[in-house]
Symmetry: C3
Subunit: 273 residues, 3 copies
Amino acid sequence: MNRVITLTTDFGLSDGFVGMMKGVILGINPHATIVDITHDIAPQNIAQGAFLFANAVKYFPANAIHVVVVDPGVGSARRPIAIQIGETIFVAPDNGVLTLAIRDWKLEIQSPISNLQSQVRAVHLNRPEYWLPRVSNTFHGRDLFAPVAAHLSLGVPLEALGEPIGDWVRLSQCAASWRAGNEIVGRVAHIDRFGNVITDVGEEMLAGMDRARIVVMIRGKTIRSVKAAYSTVAAGEPLALVGSSGHLEIAVREGSAARLLGIQFGDEVVVSA
Amino acid sequence: MNRVITLTTDFGLSDGFVGMMKGVILGINPHATIVDITHDIAPQNIAQGAFLFANAVKYFPANAIHVVVVDPGVGSARRPIAIQIGETIFVAPDNGVLTLAIRDWKLEIQSPISNLQSQVRAVHLNRPEYWLPRVSNTFHGRDLFAPVAAHLSLGVPLEALGEPIGDWVRLSQCAASWRAGNEIVGRVAHIDRFGNVITDVGEEMLAGMDRARIVVMIRGKTIRSVKAAYSTVAAGEPLALVGSSGHLEIAVREGSAARLLGIQFGDEVVVSA
Amino acid sequence: MNRVITLTTDFGLSDGFVGMMKGVILGINPHATIVDITHDIAPQNIAQGAFLFANAVKYFPANAIHVVVVDPGVGSARRPIAIQIGETIFVAPDNGVLTLAIRDWKLEIQSPISNLQSQVRAVHLNRPEYWLPRVSNTFHGRDLFAPVAAHLSLGVPLEALGEPIGDWVRLSQCAASWRAGNEIVGRVAHIDRFGNVITDVGEEMLAGMDRARIVVMIRGKTIRSVKAAYSTVAAGEPLALVGSSGHLEIAVREGSAARLLGIQFGDEVVVSA
């Protein structure tokens, strides 16, 4: 069956780890279409993985299977899980890395007649007959998650792969929040290749604000107003805008905001109007 | 339809941008075969993108669709365009990034009986019904170019996607030229992973020269004669040769010419014989 | 025919070289499924290429075709070869880069009734009709190995592509060995993205040892006992373990062993019990 399986990991592309996962998948389902989302999550950074994955997942077909392996607890007691919402299936260690993707999914489909909640099914992946014969202590991406995703892509039902569970781990601090009613407090969730600083402040939080009067504070710097595009400021100037992922970003036109403003992953950002 | 769609961008592979483009394409055409040419064009370097894309494109099937997104003007008035030559279709921002690929195409097919010119069709992509429902100001690769390429791969005719145009932007300074009739003046168009320095001096310009007597000057250094292979010099020695892309290259056997000779992108190179 | 073709090279992903290889393959077999193992082999490091390829290849379908291009001798007299074992076919320069993969294959299938040896066939790829019309001196990956693999994936028999040969180059020093009967002497074969140090000491060599009493010496440091998992030591502590590739590894929990212990590719490691 030609079905999309996406891979998001912190494995990098240099060591052959991702290639092995693809070999395992194609050995089980030769017709799977495998797509890399990213393999450059900072090693073991669950929060960054959750953020980048949630941004990308909404652009894939509804029947895709998504494998997310940022897995500092591999070899410990953390559970491997799979969660199905509608036709979409997520396969990951149970460490919160799916938190934002599932939250976004629910926000998206919050119509009153939705019976989404009843459609969310989750299992603890505990049926070794769907794994590689030999499972290492350090590489469940290859030995467990890849074969599970491949079997799912062939139509094996979720419940065949493990015991139903009602709960799974959520990241507690993974999105911006309101402070004292008029300030948004968020964090730097990602710095992209261009040095753009992407925060976890979603566009919907800015809905009631006058963008021309918004003040963004980060690392002791103040940036005034939220612009519509890079081209509204001169080259080398910083600006705030809503980026392509739907989050507040700090950028420098034709430059690296992260470098020029000294901003790092996890830095606090405060937004007021 | 199983048709090749290539991607060439300056997005890198770390941020998930390329994965999103693939998700969009596969959502429209699940049978597309997507191939990465490179995503490591230096950010917003149109000249480098034009050079690397033109080198690669000739190795793809004639019915491939090529998406090239190096797009410093995204969100401004620059047009998104598509150009069709024979069965091949190029999709890109109208900023010159296709200049070399289209020039090479014409050089290749310059037989007198060719009616190539009449076969070149171009459109301004201005039909939003073929884009994502919501188009960001900063990521047309995902929101516009990817869906357009996917629809083209399904057989939607070029003219359905936009208004025909007769002109498009060409890079003015994108190839070496003759000075005073006997000197070629070019530039460093790319430095590859091995530190080889690839110039924009095409092999055809050296046609009338005695390769043993050619003198290459770059960054104050002089390299004599154009060799046939690395193995003609000792390890650590610089040499000039015609590389696999059909351009004059400066290399150091078992070393990095760029580092050892202090050469950078854009440096001038002068060739005489 | 939908058949897997893997690519392992030292070309990197930045220059478009790998994209060109894929274009060539898909031009010959539009239904090939191409998978990257890695393109980040250190430039011209045959030993590292042999090691990473051998680790990955066993996870692919038995009828896959594997192209391995780490090729310092390109343009010289070194032969291009293809080796078939059962349904699996390897395509590479004849410089030893296949040594470990073929050795592992034999170890795997050493049942007394195996007639494996009679199944190993090798050819010198010397039939230019299966190459690109024009073959460069510097890029046989694109001009020779890619088209050969594509033709093989269409079912062209091995012997059509070249003259049978009985010998091929093996790396002499590519695996750990016993010294004085009770010490294993090996080398650092790879350092992965996490800074884990992977040695060429295979798990099978540790079979007769009491893991709790094993002593590993490397760069003047001594690490005692071979653990089962990272979680057996405190964060920041070094440990030895058998990694996911089945080799002895030196790691630091939540840290980079290579950096913290100053270990480099090729360093000697001595194991005793």
